[in-house]
Amino acid sequence: MTREKKTKKIDHIYKYLPKSASGISGLDEITQGGLPTGRPTLICGDAGCGKTLMSIEFIVKGAILYNEPGVIMAFEETGQELAMNVASFGFDLEQLQKDKKIKIDHVHIDRSQIEETGEYNLDGIFIRLNYAIDSIGAKRVVLDTIENLFAGLENEAILRAELRRLFSWLKEKGVTSIITGERGNGMLTRHGLEEYVSDCVIFLDHRVIDQVSTRRLRIVKYRGSVHGTNEYPFLIDEDGISVLPVTSLGLEKQVSYEKISSGIPALDKMMGGKGFYKGSSILVSGTAGTGKTSMAAYFANQACNDGKKCIYFAFEESPRQIVRNMKSISLNLEKHVSKGLLRIHASRPTLFGLEMHLVSIYKAIREFRPDVVILDPITNLITVGGMSDVKAMLVRLIDFLQDEQITVMFTALSLNATVSEQTDEGVSSLVDTWLLVRDIESNGERNRGLYIIKARGMKHSNQVREFIITDRGLDLVDVYLGPDGVLTGSAREARKIEEETGVALRDYALNAKDREIDRQRKTLEAKISSLKNEFESAEEQLNRIYNEDILRKQVLSKTRDQMTKIRRGDEETGTAKIKKSKNEK
C-alpha cells in the first residue's frame, strides 16, 4: 500500500529528477521521494549522530523493500561489527549477504602498515567497488566513512583528485550512493567532501539541551529538487531511524461533522448541544487545581462509554494514581482499562527528549488506533524542550492526529491568570476549541469558572459557568446572575437563600393583604347592607307619609263631597257613607 503510493509519487517527479526512496520513515516525505537516483548524497554530522545507521538503513530498506541490492563499503567497521551493530534494529546483514542482496566490503587502512613512495592512484578501491557492484547488480552504494582515507594516506593531492574521480565514476556507474563524513571545523565535513558531492547534502545533528539530547536532520542542499529546508527531529529506536516531518504542510485535511461528547452534558450544551467535533483538538487550560485532569478523564470516560478507544498520555501521574484519583469523583476508569478501551501511558517528561516523546506517542497511536487522545499536561514538556520546540512538536502532533481523524484533548497549566489570556505554549491558535478553567476568587473563597474561549465552527455560549467537582462528578452549575454579575460558590448559595426568603416574605405579605382586603370587603358589605336598611326604613317612612297624604286627601275630598251633598239635601246617604268609610278605617 505504502509502497504503491511511493512509486506513484516518484513517477510523478520523474520528469524532473529520478529519486530512490530511502525507505526511512519520514525522510522520503521531506525529500519528496528520496535521494537522487544515480547520484552521490553526502550525509554528514558529528560522531554518533546516526550517519552510519542511516546509510545502512538506506541499503537494507533498498534491498528489502525496493529490490535494489546494495554495497556497503565500510572504512571503519568490519562486516561483522556492522552486522552486530544493526542487528538490534532487526536488520539481518548476514542473511542479506547470503541472499546476495547486499555486499559488505570492509576497507582496512592501517597507516603503520603502509608506506608511500611515488605516484599511485586508488584504482584498488575502484576495482573493489566495481567488483562488489557487479557481483550483485547493486543499485545502491554506501561509503562509510571515506574520509578515513585521509588518515591512512599521506598524499592529500592524490587523494583529492582520486575522490573527485571516484564520485564522477559512481555517477557514471549510475548507482545511488551515500557518502558519510564527519563534521569538521566550520565545514560540513572534516576534509571538505561537500566539495565533491554537490547533489544532495544531508546534515545530521545531535544536540543536548538541558541534558536531553535531540537528533535533528536538515537537508542542506538538494540540487534539482524541492525539499523541506527545516531541521527535522529524528530518532533512533528499535525500528531504526524515523524522521518526523510536519506530515502535511498544506491544510487539506478531511473534516468531520460528527460530534463527540465531552462527557459533561452541560458543557456539551454550551457548545451547541453535542460536544466537540470529531478529529478536532481541544485545549483545556487553567491554573493548578482547577480540574483540568478531571475534565480530561471525563472526556476519556465518555469516549470509552461510547465504545471508542482512548489513549491517555500522562506526564504527571502514574496510571494507578489517575485511576485512584478519578474514583474520588465517581469515575471508574479501571473497567475501561481492563476492557482494553482505555490505555494510560505515563512517562516522566524528562525521561527522554521531545522527539522521543512524540515518536512514542506516534507509535502508541499507530498501534492502538484510538479515537480519542489525551495529553495531560503539555506544559510539563517544557521541562524537556523550549517553548518553541514544544510548539513545533504539538503542531506535528495535531497535524498527525487530524490526518487520522483522532480527537485530541490537551491540558495545559497556566501559571497565572494573565498568561492564560495569552497563549498556552502557543498552541491556542492551533487548537479548534479552547476551554479555560479559571479561579474566581471572591469573599475569601476560590471557585472555578469555566469558559469557552473559542470553539471553531460551533455556536458556543459566552457565559462564564461555575464548574464544580463533587463526589458525584463534574458539573456546571446553572448560571446565577446577580446584580453584580455571575455569582459563584457560597455567594451564589447565599443569594439563592436570600431570594428564597424574599419569596416567603412576599408570599406572607400577600396573604396578609388578601386578608385585609377580605376584611375591608366585609366591612364594606356590612356598611352597604346597613345603608340599604336605612334606606328602606326611610323609604317606608316616606311611603307611609305619602299614603297618609293620599288617604288624607281622599278622606278630605269625601268629606267635602258629603258636606256638599248634605248642603244640597241628600245628607243621609252622604253622611252614612262617610261614617261607614270612617269606621272601615
Partner: protein
C-alpha cells in the same frame, strides 16, 4: 629452501599502465640488488582478478605487499624512492635514513 622463502612479495597492479610497469621494474631492481635469490615476486592484475583486492586490503595501485616475513607491510606508489621501499620492506633499518 630457507633463503627462497625469506621474502614473499606481491605486487598489485591494475592493467599494464606506465606506472605499474615502472613499479615492477623498480621492484625487480631492488630485489636483485639486496636479496638476490631470496625472494619471490607475484604480480596480480586486479583488472583480471578483482576478487583478490579485498583479501589484501588493496586501496591504491600499484601496491606492493610483503607477505613474508610477517607482519604484512604495504608500500603504495610506483616504488620510485629506493630507500623508502627498502625501509618499508625492512631490508634496511629505518635508522640508516635518519643517519
Amino acid at each position: 629452501m630457507k633463503n627462497e622463502k625469506k621474502w614473499e612479495l606481491r605486487l598489485y597492479v591494475a592493467g599494464k599502465t606506465e606506472r605499474s610497469v615502472t613499479a615492477l621494474a623498480n621492484l625487480r631492481k631492488y630485489c636483485e640488488e639486496h636479496m638476490k635469490g631470496q625472494y619471490r615476486i607475484e604480480v596480480i592484475d586486479l583488472l583480471e582478478k578483482p576478487q583478490l583486492a579485498e583479501g589484501d586490503q588493496i586501496l591504491a595501485v600499484p601496491t606492493l605487499v610483503r607477505k613474508v616475513p610477517e607482519p604484512i607491510r604495504k608500500i603504495i606508489g610506483d616504488l620510485s624512492n629506493e630507500e623508502k621501499v627498502l625501509v618499508g620492506l625492512n631490508i634496511i633499518p629505518a635508522q640508516s635514513i635518519i643517519e
